[in-house]
Symmetry: C2
Subunit: 186 residues, 2 copies
DNA sequence: CACAATTCAGTTGTGCACAATTAAATGGGC
DNA sequence: GCCCATTTAATTGTGCACAACTGAATTGTG
């Protein structure tokens, strides 16, 4: 089946309940149906994952993004905010308040680097380091919640990483197309 | 490979840069490493997808969740807020302000149902219905951005839906476990 | 009919994501 | 030494996600 094959060939037999007043060709409708299904699936999966982590992380007192930050700290030790952002692809607008909440919870300290006053080092406290012990059982529960085995999880992860790489590259070219169109107009 | 096989067998050869001061067994570290990779991958993919939609939807004046709502309206016609929430798995706390923004943009009207005064019907305006024409080219650009062909996209979608179903079910059992533990303590 | 339970939208509060901006610190070129 | 681009956090503002709650409307049951 070709790259741009007509999606109607896959959904033509499906029922289209209560068509809207703005009727149009099945081809158009199916493209939008397909798009709705794809982007909704990823969106829903992301939120479902978030929901399970929310439940499981509740007794650690962490949110899902906070858990991500703690994972980086447990793995790499004390790092500057900048490095956290590189590992997690988050900017300071997200990380600054998040890390402050972790500090308020007593899990980390924030210290200006003496060597470079612009940099803020995020350091685990005793309590933050100790929390790692309780976090060790989280991955097993998560994997159990997915119903996937390790091979399936790993395969899915590789596809998602591949997708992310492609999307990041495409976002740049799309942004460039945008800029080109703007130059055209301006 | 067994369900709970030791992840160290996959990552034992990988370098563990600058181990933190709280050293522990490789097994523990690898579980947390794996978890970081999996949950981060999904999180990153979701945000990358969101980012591409953000760029592509910009000239339609829609955000990604707003686009999801419009897709439902274009496909099913006028629906109550409740139905929107069922299609998109979003609650009123998210949908109420979102739909109001769509109304402020002139794309929809919100009307109390005469039959059931509790229900709010969301209706496309002329402008909202017309926007569909410009949205038709979105799916093709998105699919191009992913670098995946239709079969791969469909396969990924099925896996994600399967994952979502499992996670939703697990969230309930985890919440039930939580409640049971609470009954034990209380 | 009366009353309790349910349904539905809305509001409030917390937290995340990200664009845009600000401000301080740094380092290179002159 | 002095300017200037760059780097780094922080701040502000907008929008989404969701829990908890409110309040009105409806429905079921006696």
């Amino acid at each position: 089946m070709g790259y741009w094959s007509y999606p109607g060939t896959m959904t033509a037999s499906s029922s289209t309940p209560s068509a809207p007043s703005t009727a149009s060709s099945p081809a158009d409708t199916d493209w939008l149906r397909l798009d709705r299904q794809i982007c909704f699936s990823l969106h829903a999966a992301s939120r479902a994952f978030n929901g399970v982590y929310r439940v499981i992380l509740k007794d650690l007192g962490l949110t899902y993004p906070q858990y991500l930050v703690m994972l980086v700290l447990w793995e790499y030790g004390d790092v500057p905010v900048k490095t956290l952002g590189e590992h997690l692809r988050l900017d300071s607008g997200t990380l600054s308040p998040l890390v402050k909440r972790l500090e308020a919870a007593g899990l980390v300290r924030r210290e200006r680097s003496a060597r470079d006053e612009r940099s803020v080092q995020v350091r685990l406290t005793e309590e933050g380091a100790a929390l790692r012990e309780r976090a060790l059982r989280v991955p097993r529960r998560i994997m159990g919640a997915t119903g996937f085995d390790l091979a399936e999880i790993t395969d899915l992860r590789e596809r998602l990483d591949q997708l992310t790489t492609a999307l990041d590259a495409a976002a740049l070219t799309e942004a460039e197309r945008e800029a080109a169109a703007e130059r055209e107009a301006g």
